[in-house]
Amino acid sequence: MIHIFANYGGTLLYGLGQTLLCSVLALIFSLILGTLFALLEESPSKFARGVARVYIEIFRNIPLLVITMFFYVVFPLYVVKMNGFTAGTIGLTLYTSAFIAETVRAGIQSVDPGQMEGARANGLSFWQAMRYIILPQAFRYVIPPLGNQFVNLVKNSSTLAFVGGFDLMYQGNVIASSSLETIAAYSAVGVLYLVITMPISYYMRYLEKRLA
């Protein structure tokens, strides 16, 4: 395995960079989208709740790979050309945002309803109360599950390999087929994934314990 790092270090590092870039981009966008849909689901409007419900159910119940392939195969034909990296990142964002919406919603619901009532009684509007009173408290509870979502995101970014996204998994395949040392090549890739995911998931477990 060490000679894989020695011979293909550059390729692996490039893949690691693409994986991290894609994961961070998808995390940022899916946090925005996910929070938005969580708020819609908690809003007083029945229509907004319906829209949020449909969005969340669709993206939670269709495999990530099908979503990514849709953007990779269908979009270039009818809408706009995009490379594998873009298609993969969009797919990851939409898929993860549905899970983040559920997580954030659970966080909002874990805040004592008295907080909202108190804020409303003090003259804040629903959205003001959400923004200044509920969300800041909800996010504290939501951090460990969000961290776990990020771990999932990094792992799921390996679907980029299906669409030629030049991520870590893709480079691993390239190295495995050119060096013919499958086990060593995939082990090297595995080690690099673990370098990202293990510390995050241990830290999140620690935070979870401290919050409990």
Partner: protein
Amino acid sequence: MLQNFIDAYSPDNLRYLFGGLGITILVSVVSIIGSFIIGSILGIIRYVKIKYFSAIVGFIIDIIRNLPLILILFFTYFGLPNLGVKPEIIPAAILAMTIFESTMLAEIVRSGIQAVDPGQMEGARANGLTYWQGLWHIVLPQAMVKMIPAIVSQFISLVKDTSLATIILLPEMLYRSQIIYGQNTNYIIPMFVAIALMYFVVCYCLSVLARYLEKRQA
């Protein structure tokens, strides 16, 4: 456009696709059963803290949990032949899914057991039950009830994750849809609609079940 849908959903194509659904379900069900059994055992091992053994098992679980499933699929399908074992596609897919999902379940089981009030075990011990009797008759049944929603959502992930096995050419729905639209690009959209619907129906039924169990428990 409508004509494309009618042509794409010819009886032959539909039969072919539903055959893929059958393979998805076969792989899912076998992996669900396997990973439930192995995951529960691993979770209990991790909870009971047998000296050294539990720590080592826990560390291996953490390693596998933090790897992408695709990598584990590659290990079983392309890596094992290097060690002299050459699995067929379906067993290789089932093996990879079972290994990966058992570690996910082990984590759910462990935290489920830990969520049971420690007073339950103390009460069981005070009433003369051994540690294992207390675990089996008192703690586990209560933990199971708490864990069921999380376990069902993990199984939903499992069903969706079977689509990743297209990378080792498992002839399930997604793979078969690609073969069909590979012959005629007009079929691309109808095929995506069809497989998205099929996955959605299977997974949505499971998530309704999860929500029902969650409500009943509360």
